[in-house]
Each structure stands twice: as structure tokens, then as C-alpha cells.
């Protein structure tokens, strides 16, 4: 199994130094693919959007998970199970399908439910072609789709905060905000880190939802690193070498973000 993952990784690294297409022996070109990628505005635009997307999704997931987690813990167990079940729906359904039905709400061909609600307020964005609106829509979708993960982790995490400490803080005269800030948040820091870790790994690889919601990603400014790779390797051109270089750069970016988490785990392991 390790081989099944390590093999392709090796092939990708190898191809990133070659000019190669399907059914083509290929030519060694050194760092030319990397130079071409890093010198391409389109790459930086995609990297920029992907970063913003990941950051917004991660923040939304954590804040949403925290708020909803608090609310879930404030209701009775039966109600909690009911609401949690409903809240899980966008998360458990395949991304491509969720993205499709989500986008229909903003699409006039399908009735444009949201557009009809917004029209009286004088808001009528071109969701799928105006770059700012399309970016917002994709981020909104990711929060809709992924928040449940944050909720799943945090609803239990919040329960694990010892009651006595919260009560003690209340006795010391701390307000609700202070209690959250000084007692609850520090004690669930690790869980928030866990959400961020998963979210960063997934955010940088976003592809499915963009393909469904804005298939014209490269023309409407919603191209992510992965839709860019797709266009280079399968869509517009078949430059496998160039696509491999972009893949390698993406992996490196993700790993850089993972370093703090790995160090944290290392510390835990040593202390265990």
C-alpha cells in the first residue's frame, strides 16, 4: 500500500523535471518546469486564491463549529441528536453532489431561490461570472459543506472541558466571554489545531466543488491550484511535466503548513 502511494509520488517528482505528455517518451529539462510555473502569473493567482480559500474555510469551520458546538451542548440530548443529524447532511453527501445542489440555489435557471430573496435588497450579484461573487460563493459553499467536521470535533471537545473550572471562573466573577477566552478555548486548543490541520490539507487540494460550481474557473478567477493542474494536464493542454511541478510545489506548501503540527505531535510522543 505504501508503494501504491510512494510510487506515484516518485513518478510525479521525476516527471516534474521532464517535458512529457501522454504516450511520449519525454525529455529531461532540469528545473525548467519549476521556473515556468513560478514565473507564471496564472500560478500565483491560483495559489493566492487557494490560500485565501483555505484560510477562510478553516476559520469558518472553526468559528462555525465552536458556535454551533456551544449551542448543541446547551440543548437536551434528544434535540442535540436531531440537530446534529441534520447538520451532518452537507458533510456526508458526496462533495460533487452537495456542490451541485448548493449552486442551484444561486442559479436562475433553477429558480434562483437566493437571488429572489436578495433582489428586494437591491443585491443581484452575477454569482458565477463576477470573480468576487464567484469566490465568495465557493468559500460559502466550503463552509456550508465542511462546518459539520468542525462541529463533530468541537461538540465533544467542549464537553471535555471540566465543569468545575468553568464554575470556578464564574465564581471569580469572569463574564461569559472571559470564561470562553481564558478557560474553554485554551483547553480545546489541540482540537482546534486538529481541525486546522485537516482543513489545510483539504483546502489546498480543493477541486471537486470548483469543477461543479464554476466550471469556467480559469476565466472567472476561481482557479485553484488543483483546477490549474487539471487544466494543464488534462483539460487545455497535456503537459504532464508542468503539471507535476505544480503538484510538487503544492505538496511542499502543504507540508510547510503542517510543520507546527508535526512538532506538536513529536513533543507529545516524547512526553508520553
Amino acid at each position: 500500500m505504501t508503494l501504491l502511494m510512494a510510487g506515484p509520488l516518485f513518478i510525479t517528482a521525476f516527471d516534474s523535471f521532464r517535458k512529457v505528455s501522454y504516450g511520449d517518451p519525454g525529455l529531461f529539462v532540469g528545473f525548467a518546469n519549476y521556473a515556468a510555473t513560478l514565473g507564471d502569473q496564472r500560478f500565483w493567482a491560483a495559489a493566492g486564491f487557494t490560500t485565501v480559500y483555505t484560510a477562510a474555510m478553516t476559520a469558518g469551520k472553526i468559528v462555525g463549529g465552536y458556535v454551533v458546538g456551544l449551542m448543541l451542548n446547551a440543548v437536551r440530548a434528544k434535540a442535540r441528536a436531531f440537530f446534529l443529524g441534520l447538520l451532518l447532511v452537507p458533510y456526508v453527501v458526496p462533495t460533487v453532489i452537495g456542490a451541485l445542489v448548493f449552486s442551484w440555489l444561486f442559479n436562475s435557471t433553477f429558480g434562483g431561490f437566493v437571488n429572489v430573496l436578495l433582489a428586494p435588497l437591491g443585491i443581484a450579484p452575477d454569482w458565477f461570472t463576477d470573480p468576487a461573487a464567484a469566490k465568495f460563493l465557493l468559500i460559502f459553499h466550503s463552509i456550508w459543506h465542511e462546518s459539520a467536521f468542525g462541529i463533530l470535533v468541537l461538540v465533544a471537545a467542549l464537553q471535555s472541558v471540566p465543569r468545575e473550572r468553568i464554575e470556578a471562573a464564574a465564581l471569580d466573577g469572569a463574564g461569559w466571554w472571559q470564561t470562553q477566552w481564558r478557560i474553554v478555548m485554551p483547553s480545546i486548543r489541540g482540537f482546534i489545531g486538529f481541525i486546522a490541520l485537516i482543513s489545510i490539507m483539504d483546502g489546498f487540494r480543493v477541486f471537486d466543488s470548483i469543477r461543479m460550481i464554476t466550471p469556467a474557473a480559469s476565466t472567472v478567477g476561481t482557479e485553484s491550484l488543483m483546477t490549474y493542474v487539471y487544466n494543464v494536464a488534462l483539460g487545455e493542454t497535456q503537459q504532464l511535466g508542468l503539471a507535476s511541478a505544480i503538484n510538487v510545489i503544492t505538496i511542499i506548501i502543504i507540508l510547510i503548513f503542517l510543520v507546527p503540527f508535526i512538532r506538536q505531535t513529536w513533543r507529545e510522543m516524547k512526553s508520553a
Binding site: 435557471t109 461570472t129 469556467a216 476565466t219
Partner: protein, 450 residues
């Protein structure tokens, strides 16, 4: 003509047909796409000596399914021959074709591949397709290939060799609500100016807020719409030296045309593909559309269209008086993968079945079919009232994109700037200069320009 609707467990393409044609006793098609005779047709492939399986790659669409289905239904009756087709969407076809065709000899996952003029050039230039010239020289008469308009066959050639058998052609035409135009005393517009005037009248009369529709989808269709206006204005994508020439008076005029057209469309104009454009006509939100002719079938179908009796068809208008129609001609057909492990004679026989009599008869309501004798058949003409408008548009000079391998590169690299220009209000020239620069860079990277 009333046929029993037989619904079997069959590939999704049947659903497409079933739904589009559904309950359309009038059009005489059930889910088995039986056509006028309900015949399965004859498979033109000889019986293979040992069992072989032929896999067909073709996107599912009402205009494509009858031809794909002609191969599967007729040829699965031949001993030792199995023809599989699982429909994919259009973009999946564009991904899967190069993956399969670029495999080494005998490594194809698809033996017969759907192509249209642009992809034919791309695949043939890479040496992925098997030439059909010899086979047609020998079997052209018996298979009906010789009945296909030579001008159509010419478009399926690359470097002098024939690589695909066209089963249909398509071209933009004007589809309009005759009832509305008649009530306002308007003739079908023949130029964009007449179209704007008609649209204004329809708006003023309160018949529709968004009287016009066309597929301006930023994904790809916007390039087609631009091409239509550009060529009709007399401009071209490249000069003789292969350098992009969009930043021209004609290019600027084309952008202005698209802006003006867009002002008569719904606010989501740049998300409209052909299907969504058709939906706006079907449900009465728009009164005039410039759309590929093959879609005409879904407007006159009472199950799909609220105004099935009210539509009429006319040639595509020109962007300026005396110009060529602002329309693009395309041809679709099937080609044989060079790396297939199935014998060529078998594949050629299956392939030819896609232009056989049954294919033409069953495809007639949904597409402008390729064979001359069938196009002249009054019984088939009655099923497809939009044919005449398409043929007239072609006669008036509508043509294909330049059939050069570099065209996709130009279109992709210029598209963001065209979208920006159509959406914006600034000088179109600014965007077109940027478009030319981007195209130049892309063509140089890809090796088409030095």
C-alpha cells in the same frame, strides 16, 4: 405515428432520449429511439472470427445518442461482436479521449471515439487516429458514405486523409416566437441591428424583459459567440503568419455586438450554455435565441416547451448588413483509435453503422444529419422544421473555425479577456490587445509561434 414506449434497463442515453422525446407521440420516439420504422438497422461490420468487444466513447446528448445507439443496437446483434457505450458528459469525453488514445499499441480503452472538427485536428495531428480513405474507396457506395456531402467529409480530413465519418452538422440559427413577432408586426431579423430593434419592441410591448438569449457561457461558448460576431464583421483570429489579430476594428465591433446582445439577455448571460439558453425559450422568458440548430427539436416538443406550436426558425442574422451569418458550422462524427486491439475491418463496419439508414432516420428529429438523400426526404424534413434555416445559413457562408491545431490554444488563452471585455464598459481595444498578447505567449509556449 404512435409508438409504444418501451422502457428497458439500458444506458442513460436512453433516458436522455426518453426524457427529451418523452411522451412525444408526435415525434414518434420512445426510449428505444425507434425512429420512423422502429428498426434497429443493419450492422455493417462483418462477423468477427472470435469474440471481440468494441468500446465507444461519446458524450450523451439528444443530438448524439441516436448515432451512438445505431452502432450499439444494430451491432450487438452480430455474433461474436459486443459494442459497449456508457455515456459521459462532454468534458469527461475531452479528458478520457487523450488518455486512451495516447496509450501504446493495443492499449486503448476506447476503440471508437467521437470527434468534431477541432478535436479531429488535434488527435489526427498526433497520429492517434486510423485513416479511413482506403476503406471508403472500397466500401463508400455500399455503406452510404458516398451519400455524405463532400464538403462535410472535407472537414473531417487532416493532411489530406479522412479520419472520421460525419453523422451530423450543426450551425447557429435564429429560433423565435412567431406568435410574438407576428403580433408586433416584426419580420424575423436578418441583421443584429434588426434584432436589437425587434428586442426593443418586444420589451416595450411588455412581452419579455429579457427578449434575447444565446449561449454566452464563460466556460467556452463565449469564444464561439465572439467568433460568430468577429467573422461576420469580416475579421479573423489570426493573420497569414499565424499571429493573433483580435485587436482590430472588426474585433472591437464584435465585442460591442456581444455587449449589446447581452443587454437583452438575463443577468446571468455568461453562465448560459446551450441547454440553459433553450430553457429560457421553452419557458417563455425569452422570445428570440441564436442557438445551434440541433436544439430546435426541444422547442417544438410539447412535453418540454410551453410554446411548442409557436416557434419558427430562420437563418442566423449577420452582424452587419451584407455580412456573412454570425454563426459557426460544426461537424460531429466517429473515428477509429489507432491503438485499438480490435481488427480494423470490424471497427470500420461498426463506425459506418453510425451513418447507416437507421442512424439517419432515428437521428433526423434531433440533428441536421449528414447524408444528402436523407436530408431531402420529405418525411424526415417534416420532423425537423429547423433544417431549412440551418441549410440556408450554411448557403449564406457560415463556416467552421479555422481547422488548425493551434485554435484551442488561441481560444483558451484569449477567453478571460473576452469575458472581461463583454462584461465591462471600457474600450474593447484594451482587452483585445491583452488578448493578443496572451495568445502570442501561449502560442509561443506551445511551439506554434517562434
Amino acid at each position: 405515428m404512435n409508438f409504444p414506449k418501451r422502457i428497458g434497463r439500458s444506458p442513460l442515453l436512453l433516458a436522455v432520449a426518453a426524457l427529451t422525446v418523452a411522451s412525444l407521440a408526435a415525434c414518434g420516439a420512445g426510449s428505444q429511439i425507434p425512429g420512423a420504422t422502429g428498426a434497429k438497422g443493419t450492422c455493417l461490420a462483418p462477423e468477427p472470427a472470435s469474440p471481440v468487444t468494441v468500446n465507444v466513447l461519446a458524450y450523451g446528448a439528444p443530438g448524439m445518442d441516436p448515432f451512438t445507439k445505431a452502432m450499439t443496437s444494430a451491432c450487438n446483434g452480430v455474433k461474436n461482436l459486443k459494442v459497449n457505450h456508457s455515456p459521459v458528459d462532454f468534458s469527461a469525453q475531452l479528458e478520457k479521449a487523450p488518455l486512451s488514445l495516447s496509450q501504446p499499441a493495443d492499449g486503448a480503452s476506447y476503440d471508437i471515439v467521437e470527434v468534431y472538427n477541432t478535436t479531429l485536428v488535434e488527435y489526427a495531428s498526433k497520429g492517434w487516429l486510423a485513416p479511413l480513405d482506403e476503406w471508403v474507396a472500397k466500401n463508400g457506395e455500399a455503406s452510404g458514405v458516398n451519400d455524405i456531402d463532400p464538403a462535410l467529409l472535407e472537414k473531417m480530413k487532416y493532411d489530406g486523409h479522412l479520419y472520421a465519418l460525419p453523422n451530423q452538422q450543426n450551425v447557429h440559427i435564429l429560433m423565435y416566437r412567431k406568435d410574438i413577432l407576428d403580433s408586433l408586426g416584426i419580420q424575423a431579423p436578418t441583421t443584429y441591428d434588426e434584432l436589437y430593434a425587434a428586442a426593443d419592441k418586444i420589451k416595450t410591448a411588455g412581452k419579455s424583459e429579457t427578449p434575447f438569449v444565446a449561449s454566452f457561457n464563460a466556460d467556452s461558448d463565449i469564444s464561439t459567440a465572439f467568433n460568430n460576431a468577429l467573422t461576420s464583421q469580416g475579421g479573423s483570429w489570426v493573420n497569414g503568419g499565424g499571429q493573433p489579430t483580435l485587436a482590430s476594428p472588426e474585433g472591437a465591433a464584435a465585442i460591442n455586438d456581444l455587449r449589446k446582445l447581452k443587454s437583452y439577455m438575463s443577468s446571468d448571460a455568461l453562465t448560459l450554455n446551450n441547454a440553459k439558453a433553450v430553457a429560457a425559450l421553452q419557458n417563455g422568458q425569452a422570445a428570440m435565441g441564436i442557438i445551434y440548430a440541433g436544439r430546435g427539436a426541444t422547442l417544438i416538443d410539447p412535453a418540454l416547451s410551453k410554446f411548442s406550436n409557436d416557434f419558427a426558425f430562420a437563418p442566423a442574422p449577420a452582424a452587419k448588413p451584407g455580412g456573412k451569418p454570425a454563426a459557426q458550422w460544426t461537424q460531429d462524427g466517429f473515428a477509429i483509435a489507432k491503438n485499438s486491439k480490435v481488427g480494423f475491418e470490424t471497427l470500420a463496419g461498426v463506425l459506418a453503422t453510425s451513418v447507416g439508414d437507421a442512424a439517419m432516420t432515428n437521428g433526423a428529429p434531433f440533428a441536421v444529419i449528414s447524408r444528402a438523400s436523407k436530408l431531402n426526404d420529405p418525411a424526415l424534413q417534416a420532423k425537423a422544421p429547423y433544417w431549412q434555416a440551418a441549410l440556408d445559413t450554411l448557403k449564406a457562408g457560415a463556416d467552421t473555425l479555422p481547422l488548425k491545431p493551434f485554435m484551442p490554444t488561441i481560444q483558451q488563452s484569449t477567453r478571460p479577456f473576452i469575458v472581461e471585455a463583454v462584461n465591462g464598459t471600457g474600450d474593447p481595444m484594451d482587452a483585445l490587445v491583452k488578448a493578443d498578447a496572451a495568445a502570442n505567449a501561449a502560442l509561443t509556449t506551445a511551439g506554434y509561434l517562434k
